[in-house]
């Protein structure tokens, strides 16, 4: 076989598979409630840690979580980064802040955006609160909260982050049941 031929460097073989995806029992509960403007975590019956968003288990103890805990939308900055590169197809213009936040009454952080702040002033222990989208835009999504913004409260000491109890009435815009 001396016939010359081109190298085959690619072939079209598109894969399309359809699924009836479900979020899981605990995430379904969380998403249903965040559509109502309510942040709902779950408490571990063993170690009492509160997880939000919940996945139906305590990953530390390896046991199922059932008890639901409604949390306020105030949080503490556990860590943060200032992003200087644009995210493709994302309307947020750099530099912007991505932060690890722990809601009051919760024990683990989740990641969200921070805004309405001087990026240079953002710091660990800083107190923040959610800015929600208008109620008409709420859906089954974390970005019902547009971002978190600083509030005028004293910083939380580093060793207390993730241990802040819920104090005062929850200031969620939504209705607790």
């Amino acid at each position: 076989m001396s016939e010359s031929q081109d190298n085959v460097t690619g072939m079209e073989a598109p894969i399309y598979l359809q699924y009836n995806f479900t979020a899981g029992r605990a995430p379904t509960r969380f998403l249903t409630r965040i559509k109502q403007g309510v942040l709902t975590g779950q408490r571990c019956p063993q170690c009492a840690n509160v997880y939000i968003p919940p996945r139906g288990s305590c990953p530390a103890c390896g046991i199922a979580t059932e008890e639901e805990v409604v949390l306020p939308d105030k949080a503490t900055v556990q860590s943060f980064t200032i992003v200087a590169i644009p995210i493709p197809n994302n309307p947020i213009k750099p530099p912007f802040v991505i932060a690890n936040l722990v809601l009051d009454g919760a024990n683990i952080s989740f990641i969200h955006l921070m805004s309405e702040c001087e990026n240079a002033d953002v710091h660990i222990g800083q107190r923040v609160q959610a800015l929600w989208k208008p109620e008409a835009e709420w859906t089954y999504a974390m970005d019902n909260i547009r971002y978190f913004r600083p509030i005028d409260e004293p910083d939380v000491p580093v060793d207390m982050i993730g241990k802040v109890p819920v104090t005062g009435p929850a200031t969620n815009p939504g209705r607790a049941e």
């Binding site: 072939m11 073989a13 894969i15 598979l17 359809q18 699924y19 009836n20 995806f21 479900t22 979020a23 899981g24 029992r25 605990a26 995430p27 379904t28 996945r55 139906g56 288990s57 305590c58 990953p59 530390a60 103890c61 390896g62 046991i63 199922a64």
Partner: protein, 352 residues
Amino acid sequence: MREIAVVAFHQSDCLAQAGVANEVELIMPQLRAVFDQVNLTNAQDVDFVCSGSCDYLQGAAFAFVAGVDALGAVPPIKESHVEMDAAWALYESILKIRMGQAESALIYGFAKSSPGELPIVLSQQLDPYYLAPLWVDTISLAAMQARLMLDQGIIAERDMAAVVSRSRRNAMSNPHAQLHGELSVEAILGEETLVSPLRRADCAPIADGAAAMIICTVEKAKAWGVPYALISGIDHRIETHNLGMRDLTDSPSTRQAAQAAGMDRGAVDIAELYAPFSHQECLLVRALGLKDETAINPSGGVLAGNLMMASGLSRVGEVFQRIIAGEASRGIAHATSGPCLQHNLVAVLESA
């Protein structure tokens, strides 16, 4: 060589649709059940954890990583995963113990097959250049295999129907089965074919669920003070992915695995065979040379309920439970993977 003991097993019901439950929610009840059988708290109490699953089935990327949330992995644990049936996670765990790197291991397998079109999803495990782009589904491939066996007179359609009828009858005493009840050979033969020559009843139903097992050294089993069965041998062999090069009417890989696992070193009271299609049970019985004294699939087998990525482990679990219950003293468990029984594992279990 260190002897391996099975000390706990549990599987979920085979549900046609597990609803909104995610992988963690499917796994946790099974883990709790096996921990309770041995009086363990969580995965911190075993030396090694290995799971089997396939994210393609439910279309959830990294579902197998999310599954770790069910374990209690704080502080960190030794954990591994196979993108295969959990019977191969068992194999890895046995190696780990035999190498002296662990005394005990937790194994689990899980799948939600209902969200996708399982036979189509499985077509994407085929050769990516020639077969996957054709979307040849698993039922069609099995049907061609059945056609070969029928045409050569190795089996008759009545033999396939008899497998289904016995599966449904045996499954009446299996609380986790999805399909069970009296179904006569005549009634089955009266059904329309789904993918000729296969009828719907010749094909394992699609199910969601999970299964878990704990194994350990014999010394550990004695220390825990729980009943156990021995895995005296385990082996697996794979055939070429090129279906045209295989003799689809035989399963030399199963036969080799059984020989290597030591199946012939004693009587075989029961055999739990992972045959997702009725003709494949006939094929496996022939390939293994099983005789009338061996009870085939007393659980009903996977024709009565098929937990993808867990059914192979469940075959081992079924044999374990019958040995513990004194219903058998020696048996074999078989697991399979790939189209038309491409990859096969055989484990031999014996009473202690």
